[in-house]
């Protein structure tokens, strides 16, 4: 399977629209995969990710009149998703048994989805191991660092967009990102 590291959005619809389209269904179709992916990568719980995704669009629908158009729709939706994920993490902070059992399954699943490119089996195995290490490192990051890391390296948001989505200052985002990267790289060093 050939993997693409580019965004899932087509170039024709990639430019950030700052106005809500009349057809809310179109907005859901366009941004749902992104919101779901962020929620799933953050929570590593399929049901919780689905609930967060639905709540995100429900809240967006209810608040559509209050959308001030001072950021892109994508950033606005990610802002709602970040808040919902944060609430959910805080609510389940003590359910660590459930989280631990689920995350180990997710880690395997992530390792299996690595593309089979024109690499030697050894190189492929090494890359799988490195990706699994990043996945594990991302899980052990503090909440803010993980959010910033996922928004930057999975969702391709730039620092300013992350700042808007998380409600942090750009400098704070940068600090969290540096720390996250350092932790991930250290984990990579341990795994190899």
């Amino acid at each position: 399977m050939q993997l693409s590291v580019t965004s899932h959005l087509e170039p024709a619809i990639r430019p950030d629209v700052t106005a809500l389209p009349g057809d809310f269904e179109a907005l859901v179709r366009l941004y749902r995969p992104k919101v779901f992916r962020f929620a799933l990568a953050s929570l590593r719980d399929l049901d919780a990710a689905e609930t967060v995704t639905q709540d995100c669009f429900l809240r967006a629908y209810q608040a559509r009149e209050r959308f001030r158009r001072d950021c892109s729709l994508q950033t606005w939706l990610m802002q709602i998703a970040v808040n919902l994920v944060r609430d959910r993490i805080r609510n389940r902070r003590f359910q660590f048994w459930r989280r631990a059992s689920r995350s180990s399954q997710s880690l395997d699943a992530a390792g299996r989805t690595i593309a089979d490119r024109a690499r030697s089996p050894e190189a492929q195995a090494l890359l799988n191991e490195r990706v699994s290490a990043v996945w594990a490192a991302a899980e052990s990051l503090p909440e803010k660092q993980r959010t910033v890391f996922l928004l930057r390296f999975v969702e391709d948001l730039d620092l300013l967009e992350i700042a808007v989505a998380t409600g942090m200052k750009e400098g704070t985002v940068k600090t969290h990102l540096f720390r996250a990267l350092r932790a991930v790289r250290e984990r990579l060093g341990e795994s190899i």
Partner: protein, 148 residues
Amino acid sequence: MIAHLSSEQLAEWIAGQPSLMVAQHVRDCPACRAELADFRETLGEFRGAVRAWSEDQAGKYRENAVRSNPSALREPRSRTALNRMVSHQLAWALLIAAVCIVASFVLPRPVGRKAPGSDAVLLNQVDTQVSRTVPSSMEPLMKLVVQE
């Protein structure tokens, strides 16, 4: 000239905000360049893996939802979520209307409610008034006339 990039300096580079010194070092040091390329490749693969995994999980979730509720095939979950609020409002409005209609038939009307027998008393009073030959104010005068 620094020996090799530290973790923090590598992070600076990956985050896309390297200092001049770091940028200069990366240009001059093949070892650090190779390490950065490795790191970037790993992060790129990580992104691809998470995206593929997410799509895979979303597909599984839809399959499970359809298996447990076949009507989900006809209506996507996102649509049901968005319409849930509207449906609830409509259901409440219909319920309130039904209660009002039933109440209008069942509950007694407060206007026109009288004690039993009040109609008979009123009719007696009318009969008494009608059967008088003269108005009540002239009754003493009529007594004098009869006595004469």
